[in-house]
């Protein structure tokens, strides 16, 4: 598997809105949310959580030794679902499938259910190849990313160095915490968790915090996501039941929660639309509008001044910069 062989899979952004849209297309009743902290209160607010997705990339100058995470043991007899990552660009979708494959019972759209049935009993490598060969899945995945500007192809524009994040899934299976990493040969078993209280999340917190702590400060750029039940249907049902009691604190609280959740979905929908859209036509139309309004020359002159000042300022300040 070479880095250049994207096999038709485009690189996606790794944000909750993108993941949630993918889940919707897969027909599962879950969403993905940003996790800003692993504290019990933060996690409790998102329950039930089915899986945690840890995404990270190494800052090359600071993390020379990439194999800092040696905790746990390979489980060569894992009876659950595990697929290898056979195409780099598919990493986000592969992590999602690895998570979903271990949620039982799984309600999903027919295509995903068929894919799960088809891959039953396959070894991780074959399973991974089956996943990345599923055309419908690849199309759903690609639909999430910016349009490849076909008209600008062949110009050899320098690609900004977009190192992909790596995705690792943590979830409970058979009473233990498992780590599913598509680049490792087997699932990693991190030991049993106590079913009471926070349950598996407590163990997950320990393991993830240890992992983060094993890198020099600043060597790791990472993010955490929680794959959880979509809370809106239940909240709406409850609201219907409480209908009419405006003085009810629970009613008001619920209204606020629903309102917040809806705002978040609207923002995700906006971001997804803008991300998928080809903006070149808009850029041209805006420049034309500026010209018609007699403002284009001024804007250009200001831009030229701005560039000059920027270069001068850098000279003066002697800032050390990284190439971004």
């Amino acid at each position: 598997m070479s880095d250049d062989d994207s096999s038709g899979w485009q690189l996606t952004e790794s944000d909750p809105g993108v993941f949630t849209e993918l889940l919707k297309r897969l027909g599962v009743p879950y969403i993905v949310d940003d996790l800003y902290s692993l504290e019990p209160e933060s996690l409790a607010a998102l329950q039930p959580v089915h899986a945690l997705i840890f995404l990270f990339k190494w800052v090359p100058e600071l993390a020379s030794d990439k194999s800092n995470d040696n905790a746990g043991h390979y489980d060569t007899d894992f009876p659950g679902f595990f697929a290898h990552q056979t195409v780099n660009n598919a990493c986000a979708t592969l992590a999602v499938i690895n998570a979903l494959g271990n949620i039982a019972p799984l309600t999903a759209g027919p295509q995903l259910m068929d894919l799960m049935n088809f891959t039953t009993g396959m070894d991780p490598q074959t399973c991974g190849m089956a996943i990345t060969s599923a055309d419908w899945l690849r199309e759903a995945h690609n639909a999430l990313s910016p349009p490849s500007s076909i008209s600008l192809d062949g110009l050899d524009l320098p690609k900004k160095s977009e190192d992909a994040y790596h995705f690792v899934v943590y979830l409970p299976a058979l009473g233990s915490l498992y780590e599913l990493d598509g680049l490792k040969p087997y699932p990693v078993r991190h030991g049993e968790f106590d079913g009471s209280g926070e349950g598996w999340l407590k163990k997950a917190r320990e393991v993830i915090e240890n992992r983060i702590g094993s890198y020099p400060i600043g060597a790791l750029e990472f993010s955490l996501l929680a794959l959880r039940d979509d809370p809106l249907p239940a909240m709406r049902t409850r609201l219907d039941v409480l209908q009419g009691s405006v003085e009810d604190a629970e009613f008001v609280d619920l209204m606020n929660k629903i309102s917040n959740e809806n705002s978040k979905r609207e923002r995700w929908a906006f971001e997804n639309s803008v991300r998928r859209h080809n903006h070149i036509g808009l850029a041209h139309a805006l420049l034309l509008a500026l010209a018609k309004a007699g403002k284009l020359d001024l804007a250009k002159a200001a831009a030229q001044r701005g560039m000059k000042e920027y270069l001068e300022r850098r000279k003066e300040m002697g800032l050390d910069m990284d190439e971004s």
Binding site: P146, S149, S151, L152, L155, D156, L157, P158, A269, F270, E271, S273, V274, R275, R276, H277, N278, H279, I280, G281, L282, A283, H284, A285, L286, L287, L288, A289, L290, A291, K292, A293, G294, K295, L296, D297, A299, K300, A302, A303, Q304, G306, M307, K308, L311, R314, K315, G318, L319, D320, M321, E323
Partner: protein, 290 residues
């Protein structure tokens, strides 16, 4: 020599190997690997001092240098005489090199030009007026030292300008600085009659199925404002800017109703749009005779 248009402009290059300090000593051991020191400017006009392995082509070192911060000095204690060190005002870093050109006759010239560029990257090193491209195989041409005449400099600038396909001072600005909220939001406010020409270019999910009501117009205006503020929009503009700098967008710009000349650079693109605005009528743009 092809001048890379899109990412960097090579300013000079000469054969050199690296040398490394023997730990715990003051000795510096030369590494035999054949290499080259390459000085270039990137799309942000920053100077890169790179060392490239001539066998593999790999750029093993890439330092961004600030004007006046670095100097390339001869290491006097080296009996062999061709060892140099790159040292900095801003830090204790030292990088050692040894010159690898089989002839020593151009050593002094290379080092002198290198130091002048490190001091002030705006300087265009004048090698020889008749042959502006440095050639390591050429015999040392009559020295053109610090005093190039204004005519010679103008000649060089014109040649460099033509080599880089029109990326002249004219184009020293970025489209991303033109299509800013600071320029666009007041436009939406002052010329609402132009908004209907913009809405159709928004994501189709935002557009109503029939003529927008006043309420929908307000919503669309808000969507437009949010869109121009979004990272994907800014990324598209940056990409368009980079593509225009290749000078090779002639075919593409026709799809926008512009002439092929509009695809030769950022300045040309804007000039063609200004003309398009005039032709479509209703422009308040002053005629810019240049």
């Amino acid at each position: 020599m092809s001048v890379p248009l899109t990412d960097s402009r090579t300013m000079m290059a000469f054969k050199a190997g690296r040398a490394f300090r023997r730990p715990g000593t003051n000795f510096v051991d030369a590494s035999p690997v054949k290499g080259a020191i390459v000085l270039s400017k990137d799309e942000s006009y920053l100077v890169h001092f790179m060392w490239k392995d001539r066998t593999t082509g790999e750029v093993a070192e890439d330092l961004i240098l600030f004007p006046g911060d670095a100097k390339f000095e001869k290491v006097s204690q080296s009996s062999w005489g061709r060892t140099y060190v790159l040292k900095f005002e801003s830090s204790d870093q030292k990088h050692f090199f040894w010159l690898q050109d089989s002839s020593t006759s151009r050593d002094e010239e290379f080092v002198r030009h290198l130091n002048r560029v490190l001091e002030d990257p705006e300087i265009i090193p004048v090698w020889d007026v008749s042959e502006p491209q440095a050639s390591t195989s050429a015999t040392a041409s009559s020295s053109t030292t610090a005093g190039a005449t204004p005519e010679q400099l103008a000649q060089i600038r014109a040649l460099v300008g033509s080599m880089t396909g029109g990326t002249s001072e004219e184009d020293q600005f970025s489209l991303t600085d033109v299509l800013t909220p600071q320029n666009l939001l007041p436009l939406f406010h002052s010329h609402p009659d132009l908004l209907p020409s913009l809405f159709p270019h928004l994501p189709s999910e935002f557009l109503p199925s029939s003529d927008p009501t006043p309420h929908q117009m307000a919503e669309l205006t808000e969507m437009l404002q949010r869109t121009i503020n979004s990272p994907p929009f800014r990324a598209s503009v940056a990409q368009l800017d980079r593509a225009l700098r290749t000078g090779a967008l002639g075919g593409f710009v026709r799809s926008l109703g512009l002439p092929e000349s509009a695809g030769t650079g950022v300045g040309a693109f804007l000039a063609a749009i200004a003309e398009q605005a005039r032709q479509e009528g209703g422009t308040e743009e002053q005629m810019d005779e240049d």
